[in-house]
């Protein structure tokens, strides 16, 4: 599922609209009920996942990792980074903010910082992201989100000192 090489994509959706959409999509009883219904039928699930793929591919260059980080990365997809870095930029960013691997494109994290800053959301970029679960590729991240399976994707820096470390719950 991960065959296509990641390429940095500048989102077509403005940061402000994206953050507003975030409010609308926040999990609630309705979404929980709806997503549970969708998950019970294979065909509904495929249809929904396909629609999500269409929309997010167009807007964000989504690759369907199934564990969406967009809400805390200025709505710039970190899986478009050629190194798939979820915790910030590598050291190879060009002086003009270009990607090390695709110099004609902007580093997703330079983009993310600007968009987060424009919305007063740079604190989001301090969150520590756990390693990706590669079993999730191709899944709907909206269903995962509404079913509360995404709660553990990242954590505030301070709590990194304690507990089980970066490993996800089994």
């Amino acid at each position: 599922v991960t065959a296509a090489s990641p390429v940095p994509v500048h989102p077509r959706l403005g940061a402000r609209v994206a953050y507003r959409l975030q409010q609308v999509l926040r999990p609630n009883a309705g979404y929980r009920w709806l997503s549970a219904r969708i998950e019970t039928a294979g065909s509904a699930r495929r249809l929904f996942t396909g629609a999500e793929r269409q929309a997010k591919e167009k807007l964000f260059g989504c690759r369907m990792c199934g564990q969406c980080a967009l809400p805390v990365t200025g709505y710039v997809c970190p899986m478009g980074c050629p190194k798939e870095l979820r915790n910030g930029p590598c050291g190879g960013v060009g002086a003009d903010g270009s990607c090390e691997v695709y110099p004609e494109r902007r580093c997703v994290w330079v983009d993310a910082y600007d968009r987060a800053a424009s919305a007063g959301r740079t604190a989001d970029l301090r969150l520590l992201h756990r390693p990706a679960d590669h079993r999730r590729w191709g899944q709907s991240s909206w269903l995962n989100y509404w079913q509360d399976r995404d709660e553990d994707l990242w954590t505030a820096g301070a709590t990194a000192e304690a507990g089980r470390g970066p490993g996800a719950h089994p």
Partner: protein, 309 residues
């Protein structure tokens, strides 16, 4: 004293780096380590630097220990997944390698195997966090228990000069939160820009939890400078450095590069929060005594333990 003790004591630390050979022998590493051992606290052994296949960092690190110097084993996220990385830490620790430097790694696109699969299963923050958890909580990423736990001193790298400039100190903050105890920086040519980054690092209090070693390199020639600028990701060479080197005839450019490095060492040593320097001299290790002599830096000599700890 070990690198860990040196940094804990607060006296000026010096590290350098060795690039392992493209071949099945550690002889060159042993010779270089012997030359360097009275001059530096520890030496990095690079992990397939620039995505060019070379002798493994763990093997080079063992050769460094045998030569009586302390290694810093570099570990990149480029070639190995989370299983292999954890396994490497256990192996390294069992064989007496204590210092581990974690970095993302260059993309394979730039190396001698451009068609290789880029792994990047973990990023540098996640790898630091994983290794720290193995050491302190005695568990693997899977949650399974480890016994005995590895003993390691964890390092990170940072490029203070790359965009987004406002986020670079915060990025180090994430690495410190994940477990970094020391950091080596990319080449410092632009001392004022380095000082601006370090001011942000101090504002976040990071220098108290993580020793900052400024990366300083001796440029051998204008050609070497051009190569670095055009082919090494993340290195910015200011125009005045370029002009200064071009002014001297080719046979004196090496000496000018050493002089420049010594000046930069003296300047960064004055900045509050700098714990030492990391000499980026892979391939030019014989310049180390000259650089340190001109800079007037001598690590205090105490009997060194021979087990590399």
């Amino acid at each position: 004293v070990s690198l860990r003790e040196r940094l804990a004591s607060g006296s000026f630390a010096v590290t350098a780096e060795i690039s392992p050979p493209r071949g099945a022998s550690t002889q060159k590493i042993t010779e270089t380590a012997a030359q360097l051992k009275d001059w530096v606290d520890a030496v990095n052994v690079t992990d397939n630097q620039g995505s060019h296949a070379r002798l493994a960092s763990w093997a080079g690190s063992l050769a460094v220990i045998a030569a009586g110097l302390e290694p810093v084993m570099q570990m990149t996220c480029r070639d190995r997944n989370r299983i292999a990385l954890q396994s490497d830490l256990l192996g390294a620790s069992a064989l007496g390698i204590r210092n581990i430097l974690v970095m993302t790694g260059d993309h394979p696109r730039f190396g001698d195997h451009p068609g290789a699969k880029p792994v990047f299963d973990l990023d540098s923050v996640q790898l630091l966090w994983t290794l720290r958890t193995m050491r302190d909580q005695h568990v693997l990423l899977s949650g399974r228990k480890l016994a005995p736990a590895p003993d390691c001193f964890l390092g990170a790298v940072e490029n203070p000069f790359a965009p987004p400039a406002e986020f670079r100190a915060e990025r180090l903050g994430k690495k410190v939160a994940a477990g970094a105890q020391f950091v080596q920086t990319q080449f410092v040519f632009d001392v004022p820009a380095f000082a601006r980054w370090l001011a942000q690092v101090r504002d976040l209090g990071l220098h108290e939890r993580c020793a900052v070693l400024a990366g300083v390199g001796a440029v051998r020639s204008v050609r070497a400078l051009e190569y670095m600028r055009d082919h090494v990701p993340g290195v910015e060479v200011p125009d005045d450095v370029d002009r200064r080197l071009r002014k001297v005839p080719p046979e004196k450019q090496g000496a000018e590069g050493v002089k420049l490095a010594a000046e930069i060492i003296q300047q960064v040593a004055e900045i509050p929060g700098v714990a030492g320097v990391h000499l980026l001299v892979a391939g030019n290790e014989q310049a180390v005594p000259d650089i340190l002599n001109s800079a007037g830096v001598r690590i205090s000599q105490e009997p060194r333990q021979n087990d590399g700890r």
